[in-house]
Amino acid sequence: ATVASAEGEKYILVSHAPDSDSWWNTIKNGIALAGEQMGVEVEYRNPPTGDLADMARIIEQAAASGPNGIITTLSDYDVLSGPIQAAVDSGVDVIIMNSGTPEQAREVGALMYVGQPEYDAGHAAGLRAKGDGVGSFLCVNHYISSPSSTERCQGFADGLGIDLANQMIDSGQDPSEIKNKVLAYLSANPDTDAVLTLGPTSADPTLLALDENGMAGDIYFGTFDLGEEIVKGIKAGTINWGIDQQPFLQAYLPVVVMTNYHRYGVLPGNNINSGPGFVTADGLTLVEKYAGEYR
Amino acid sequence: MNSRTEHAPIIQMKNIEKHFGSVIALAGVSVEVYPGECHCLLGDNGAGKSTFIKTMSGVHKPTHGEIHFEGQEMHFADPRDAISAGIATVHQHLAMIPLMSVSRNFFMGNEPTKKVAGMSFFDHEKANRVTMEEMRKMGINLRGPDQAVGTLSGGERQTVAIARAVHFGAKVLILDEPTSALGVRQTANVLATIDKVRKQGIAVVFITHNVRHAMAVGDRFTVLNRGKTLGTAQRGQITPEELQDLMAGGQELVALEGSLGGTV
């Protein structure tokens, strides 16, 4: 009986991504599925232009609308800690997902943290690449104004033990521009050992660029976050690995955890690292099927 | 000249009304214009002269009333219709585009074309030639046909507009205060042109505030006042002084005239 009466909890997920960022789609699908399975109401909110100050307002708004819980990213502690703390204090449970660190999550009073620490992921990738003999690289940053993108590149450079310097380019988001900027960079710096892209937005055009200048399969190519084309690239051997932070889990788990916490009072004792997981050519079938949707 | 009234009128405006929102600009004006006559439209500022000729040239649709052109009722949807029916207009506020060259302006809306490989192109050569010629006829020597209209003086622009209207023939030529900004020489030129055009059998509608200009070329005079017509007079049936009185809406100018002497 208690279960039935508790059903219909409302959870709101707030992200920092602009409307058009395709990666967040998996997140939307993740919470939708969790909502369906758990029988709770879920909503997705984001600042249309990706302005973090707007995001703070959305968290306040979400708190004001009185949900049972809020799932949010913590992409800038300074901006978001205030509104998140206020939400926690007014009785709304919060889980931090995707960006931020476990320590920060604890400080704002969140129940737990689910995600992939960006710098660490970049660092791990850097170490791996160093092992594979990479000495210089190009980081294609399609979202330069977002701090987590820069952290990934920085982490990668530090993992390799080299200076980031001019190896990160601001590619913009237009595929033709990305493709041609990559081509331009590689032709001006033909000795580049590796390419690192930060998601499907930059990876897809980069694939084409490498195809066009014949470096495909020859240059070391790693990427963050999966997508349809990326999976094909991994399969074809053009991409050496993709770092999967499993966004699906970042969205799905918090809803499940929170629902169970609210219904039965159970809560995992630790944070959950949904990534980094390296996806390589082995064991790609499921990844392939659901890339961009649940992967 | 008065015998012309025995012909059928080329254009008949019957009981035209025009309202703009809460303003009644024309409250029922009827005018007939005959081929070969110069019909002067006179009246105070705001009497509705421009509004009236705009309904004639298809810019405004009348709120009430009928327009008969060559005996048939017409409904002009836009100035194009009126122009292709044969009504050319030189508006009070110029119909010239400063950034465009004189020859492009001259042929605006009436571009000459030549066929090249089955497709029709703007015939720049012809346009330039005709423009230079016509402007020379009006007494204006251009630096070249591609000189921008913006570099011409107000009077010169007015002359281009009139030359254009005259060049494209038309059966009715409407001139809205064409002489108001012109110098003496240019004015004489325009009046002479009106005279010439009229003699070719074209009907001219001529708006002016200057009694002498009206008397110099007008065959008939219609006076508008506050959106209504005060009637039409034949040339010779009215003295300049009477006409001037009517144009001023019948108000007394005596006090003034004493000190300033005669008609203004």
Binding site: D19, E43, Y44, R45, N46, P48, T49, G50, D51, L52, A53, A56, R57, I58, E60, Q61, A62, A63, A64, S65, G66, D76, Y77, D78, V79, G82, Q85, A86, V88, D89, S90, G91, I144, S145, S146, P147, T150, E151, L164, D170 | H19, F20, G21, S22, V23, I24, A25, A27, N225, R226, G227, T229, L230, G231, T232, A233, I238, G249, G250, Q251
Partner: protein
């Protein structure tokens, strides 16, 4: 020939009667007033129990609207003066970043950082204006160039100096700073505490702030918005300078010939717009404690939209500050209200576009009636 000259000189018989009520209604703000009424009616109907109208909810959309108002006041006066500023958004990002770099990286006292940022912004506004006036170029192009230039520097500086695009830690350094409080503080906290104690508004249930009211004061952001709106309104309608603003935007040449110092008016308005952008940026930085390279993206459009919804004419010479403030209110309430009402968030833009279109069409008809425009 008839001979009926009319009597008196007044044009009255040619003007149809217009009721007193209609006369009173016809004002530039009417579109804004009607819009505000409609928007509130709709949300009261569809989102009343979503928390939109409890103390937290009201504070939420008030703050968003106040943000819009701050930039809308500047944009409104500038637009009435016949110019445009597309660099507002970049200016916001730039000003915030400067404050952060001065205070955190260079370690200046916060008040000095803020004042320097204001001086910088106002100087940039003056530069914008100066270029527009001197070259006679449309302000659209000049400020578009500054949109790119300022955003470029806003990304470049922190990246070369600090190797990141967000600079945080401003909260710590601004502790106890008198000027920081003017932008980031709250007023009436005692009153709200009393309301919380008296049970009029909700209080926090747990955590470090348990027992405190959920809304603990009016942020300075809102105070700034109200001050700017009132000052802008008085400046525009009640002073000599206000008349010059209208004149400069209505017809710069005519105004110049009548002795209005058009250049000075326009440059001052560019500076005022920059000032408003800097107020916005400072409030934001002080509230959130960090400055990011992506702050203020697209804010220039939001300012223009608010102003236009509020009945101003894009081509200058006509508009009202109160209207712009109402436009900002509508914009803020709709934006947050759609979240409260649970509308699919990707449709937000669709709504925004439709409202913008509807509002300007309404305003155009109102303006035609007022000015008897042709």
């Amino acid at each position: 020939m008839s001979d009926a000259p009319n009597a008196a000189a007044g044009g009255d018989e040619r003007i149809k009667q217009r009721s007193k009520f209609r006369e009173a209604m016809i004002r530039p703000e009417l579109g804004g007033i009607v819009g505000t009424a409609i928007v509130f009616a709709l949300f009261l109907l569809f989102a009343f129990d979503s928390g939109m109208f409890n103390s937290q909810g009201i504070m939420n959309w008030s703050q968003v609207s106040a943000q819009f108002m701050i930039i809308a006041v500047g944009a409104c006066l500038l637009m009435i003066a016949g110019e445009f500023d597309l660099s507002v958004g970049s200016m916001i990002g730039f000003a915030g970043m400067m404050i952060a770099i001065f205070s955190v990286t260079l370690g200046w006292p916060v008040w000095m950082a803020i004042i320097t940022a204001f001086i910088l912004c106002i100087a940039l506004g003056a530069l914008n204006g100066f270029i527009v006036i001197r070259t006679g170029l449309p302000s659209f192009i000049v400020t578009l160039a500054f949109l790119f230039i300022l955003r470029g520097f806003t990304i470049y500086f922190p990246q070369t100096i600090e190797r990141k695009t967000i600079i945080g830690g401003i909260k710590d350094v601004s502790e106890g700073d008198w000027l920081a409080a003017v932008f980031g503080g709250k007023i009436l906290t005692g009153f709200f505490q009393w309301m919380g104690d008296a049970g009029i508004i909700a209080v926090f249930e747990r955590g470090s702030r348990a027992g405190q009211p959920v809304v603990d004061g009016v942020p300075m952001l809102i105070v700034w918005a109200l001050i700017l709106v009132v000052l802008g309104h008085i400046l525009l309608t009640k002073t000599k300078f206000g008349n010059w603003i209208f004149a400069s935007g209505g017809d710069a040449e005519a105004a110049r010939n009548s002795g209005v110092p058009v250049n000075r008016v326009k440059i001052l308005m560019f500076m005022f717009t920059a000032f408003c952008a800097c107020v916005f940026a400072t409030c934001q930085v002080m509230e959130f404690g960090s400055a990011g390279a992506d702050r203020g993206l697209l804010k220039e459009f939001e300012a223009i939209i608010a102003v236009v919804i509020g009945g101003a004419l894009l081509t200058g010479g006509y508009g009202s500050v109160i209207g712009a403030a109402l436009g900002a209110l509508i914009f803020g309430v709709v934006q947050q209200g759609l979240f409260f009402a649970g509308v699919e968030s990707s449709l937000f833009r669709v709504f925004l576009g439709v409202i913008l279109l509807g509002a300007v069409i309404l305003n155009t008809y109102i303006r035609r009636i007022i000015t008897g425009e042709r």
